[in-house]
Subunit: 350 residues, 4 copies
């Protein structure tokens, strides 16, 4: 009953097999190998256009470098108030990009185009004091397990582009979002206006496989230097390429995500019908936010369930727990079994 | 006949087996797992004192973060003019630590305590204009494949410490140096005055396994934040821990290094006796710098040998190639076979 | 009728006379001159303890360098949501200190110790993801022209210190606050827990005279390097020292502030009694925030009054203008005449 | 007999008069005033093209911000080994621009186009490890008091431009160089290929008046944000504008420089004919480098002469002092009197 995070999971057998094969051979260093080039081709095919791909080892690296690439002096990055880049990356964009992060409020982990437009009013064009907005970032999945539709993304991107801003997508759980929405990856990204994507494999069955994907390769100029000087250029880059190769083969990435999502739905259904807990947010994929009586949460933990408490600040005031209740996050993964979910359901309802 | 670099090699079977086992299980994220804790214990045992260990993914990350940790305003980092941190890391320490790098001349890739003392005279104490020396870095192996003895390290460290500086060792090939010298790791590091070590497994049989090792854990305060905000904190940290576990088990790391060194010695002997080439530097381990007639180098490459040209700037003027000659670097690894070396030797002498 | 800002004013005659005298003589560079040393002594006397003083040229420099001096990796700086450092310095602390700024809500431009404590809960100790709070900053005067009492400062400082944080005061208008409160400077600063003060002369009668004042000189170590590498170390430092000398002589600084405050009070009284406008915030010194009918504001501007519109976001929702009204900021200075205020009052009431 | 530095001098009476007048009036903040706009027009006229002008308070600020404006990831800035930006600015460009500084050797404080080309070979195009050259900087006057001719500048700029680099000129003593060469400022700058100039008034009769001058205003985009976030945007910008106005009026800047240069020539002549000392470098303007017997230097100091010792590293080996000799720097200024020079000459020859 481990629902702590999808980064507590191991790696899929197919991913490991590909990695083991690659490790026997080795290859040219720093991405000069065939596997690395192959992944760029596969992602170009997947996204239906030529993309520039840069491997890094963590999602924080992908976000921090991908966003910082669009930094300018006095730069301001707009994102949801509770975006991972704003609350969980130890100030990476501030430190590496020298940017200010400006949070936007919004229910269920999402912000709207209107909310972005309103926030931008606080940064009047040309004011050297306030700084200049350079990028809007959205998370897909969001930090509350919800998704943006392609139309919602396009609306946000239009507002941003009108101010000359770039659009970044934190896709640490992009696979889960794509599996849920059933929409072509291109429609969720560049066709909706996204310039740069942090594409995460780690939370969906890889060990450490993240990529910064630029939808216009011309805008990736100098990014290789940016990556290298921050120590994110792996000499044995085939190690990430091998993982991505297996991950992308035959839709393995979507299969992994679909399993996690199915387990998430199973868990959500159990909570809905439990009579003892409720969903704080309607889930789209593998992140479930639930409100439980504190004693029930304590009992479940004592019985072996592992899940994190979550800040009630992330919810709108009207959605927050009452006295005696607690907000928790439960995450399923490609390794989560139906048995584990059912055991949790049984114990919850007991 | 691949002698391009030890980062062109794959990973050892033992390392991969450990990684595969770990990947089946997964574990607590961000280093909370048992394997991660275990590696810290093993390294404490290896170094004969309690050490603080921080995994990162690349040697550039280890160097950049480890050195930047000692940065102060106006900080100056002293190192050999051709140190990897000065010539091959795309300005990482400048960018992340805000420090100036001040190169020191020295034959065979090494600098002396006297040369350090002379260089320090250009940074008079208290001069806000010149900046303040904060750290001296040495590479073990050096970038020319030579080693510092424990006494040489201690002499450098004494000069540095008298100016209040920290001492960093770039140990991307520490295993090769330790195997060659046959000296206890503690004697090569903290007993000689080293404060922080970039310990590299990647070039000696791992996929991507590097660690910043602080010999005084109290001096590692805040380093976890420094690592996290630069995107170097792996969620599935067991992925590095598993590699290091196998690497350290039963002296596997030294066995891997000894093999690479033996192949290096075999290659060096072949060059010495070839009648067609000569060693530019007397090698200690697995990096061989040779001077060949240009036509011989071209022929060997045409016959399938892979090796890099090297800048003659790295040699003292009296050691440089004559007209018609070229300086090349050949590196052996744990995967190099005697057959490959012998084939090279035969073709060289032909 | 110039009420745009106190930085639209010139410089006091006494300040200019001192500067002219100093400019005839010149002096040792980089603060080695007698005037510079003298200012440090005077400020030590004024603050009733030995302080370390570093001149810089702007308030943004003082704030950015003074706060960044306490930066640590993953550092978070807490301040009022509308603090100058958060909204008007183009991301200086983010860029130079690599810190995240976390805004705190609070009425009338002030935040409370309780609000600070609540905000700190979002940064749990030891969480490398969220980062670590390193400093709390307060503005005295605040950006809404109000003041903190010594007790309020002490309460905030206690909360901050319990988390190991430093306390910074943005004293761009410290003179106005001190003149209003009639409290010893020491009571408003170090005795209440302040570690570092940005002391501003520019808005109170100088040309460009700002200082970073450390109340514990030992904590100023390396600050001279920090200042120099950012280009804030003036070679002719006597140019700032001469201004501060005249400014501090015979309480000139307080006289200048008292005049500005008196003009502010006269202006506030006029607004209160006008029947056409109201105060948005009860003023303490020379910053007056008023709510006017839009047509009245337009008429006043057409008649020659100069004042800035102000963001209604800075007010609590219940304090904001109604439809057809506008929020404006009016600032008086040492140069403001009673005649100008009275003319404004007459035109407002007309 | 103060020959310590031209930044020990005061300010010219005309400059102070203009400043005093401006200080009575005050004006719109942050460069919105008439004086500030006027200086931009005057400099456009002086340089015979439209330029973009940004005031800052120190030469280090001008250099650091002006050079950093051209920074890119992995950026390398090439300059003379002993350039002020490399040896006297506490690592400002490293810290603010994240660039590596790569020094070039060259006699008499100058480097040649050929030397630049040779140094660039160490940064092969496209190598992410070595980084990418982004800018070449030259000092005019150089740090050894010599000048580059327009042709020499053009030759350097051609090499730099062929690698896509920008060209910066450190003109802390540009007035002295222009006065000596008698060449139009345009010929020494943009017509020879210079993109950005640090134009210094401080060392030639101002208190604190420096400007970053972009010869193509389009390339100055975002510079205002860069200046603001580092605290270099003065609210009372007229304070610098007033100084520059007087400085530029009727060629006052060249008159000030010519006097300093004449005093430098008088001092040089005295040294040449003294029989006790010799010039280490043939001077062009107001910086005189002389080699004296150590006992003579000591005696002169005891008799009241003030001058700095200088590092012999700045000289070519064949130009260095012999045993018992010392290298010193003597600088004249607009305030230096012929009497002071003659007294020094008499005492030297005594």
């Amino acid at each position: 009953m481990i629902f702590a995070s999808d980064n507590w999971a191991g790696a899929s057998d197919k991913v490991m097999a590909a990695l083991t094969t690659a490790a026997r051979a080795g290859g040219r260093a720093y991405g000069g190998d065939d596997l690395s080039r192959g992944v760029e081709e596969r992602l170009s095919a997947l996204f239906e256009r030529e993309v520039a791909v840069f491997f890094v080892g963590t999602g924080t690296a992908a976000n921090t470098l991908g966003v910082s690439h669009f930094a300018r002096p006095g730069g301001v990055v707009l994102c949801h108030r509770h975006a991972h880049i704003n609350t969980d990356e130890a100030g990476g964009i501030e430190a590496l990009g020298g940017c200010k992060l400006a949070g936007i409020d919004g229910r269920d982990g999402k912000y709207t185009a209107d909310a972005l437009a309103a926030r931008l009013e606080q940064f009047p064009p040309g004011s050297v004091h306030h700084g200049q907005p350079v990028l809007a970032s959205i998370s897909q999945l969001t930090e509350l397990g919800t998704v943006y539709t392609a139309d919602e993304i396009a609306a946000i991107a239009t507002i941003a582009r009108n101010r000359g801003m770039a659009i970044h997508m934190d896709g640490a759980r992009f696979a889960g979002a794509a599996a849920h929405l059933g929409v072509a990856p291109a429609d969720l990204t560049w066709r909706a206006g996204v310039d740069v994507l942090s594409l995460g494999g780690t939370k969906t069955g890889c060990i450490a496989a993240e990529a910064v994907v630029f939808f216009d390769p011309a805008r990736a100029a100098d990014f290789a230097y940016r990556r290298q000087r921050t120590g994110h250029g792996f000499s044995k880059a085939w190690f990430i390429a091998a993982q991505f190769t297996a991950w992308l083969d035959d839709g393995h990435w979507l299969d992994l995500a679909r399993h996690a999502n199915a387990m998430g739905a199973r868990l959500a259904a159990a909570i809905r019908s439990s009579g003892r807990a409720r969903l704080a947010v309607e889930p789209a994929a593998n992140e479930i936010f639930a409100i439980l009586p504190e004693d029930v949460a304590a009992r479940l933990r004592a019985e072996g369930a592992v899940f994190h408490p979550w800040s009630v600040e992330t919810l709108a005031p009207e959605d927050r727990p009452s006295d005696g209740e607690t907000l928790v996050r439960l995450i399923t993964s490609f390794q989560t079994t139906a048995e584990a979910v059912d055991e949790f359901a049984d114990r919850l309802a007991a």
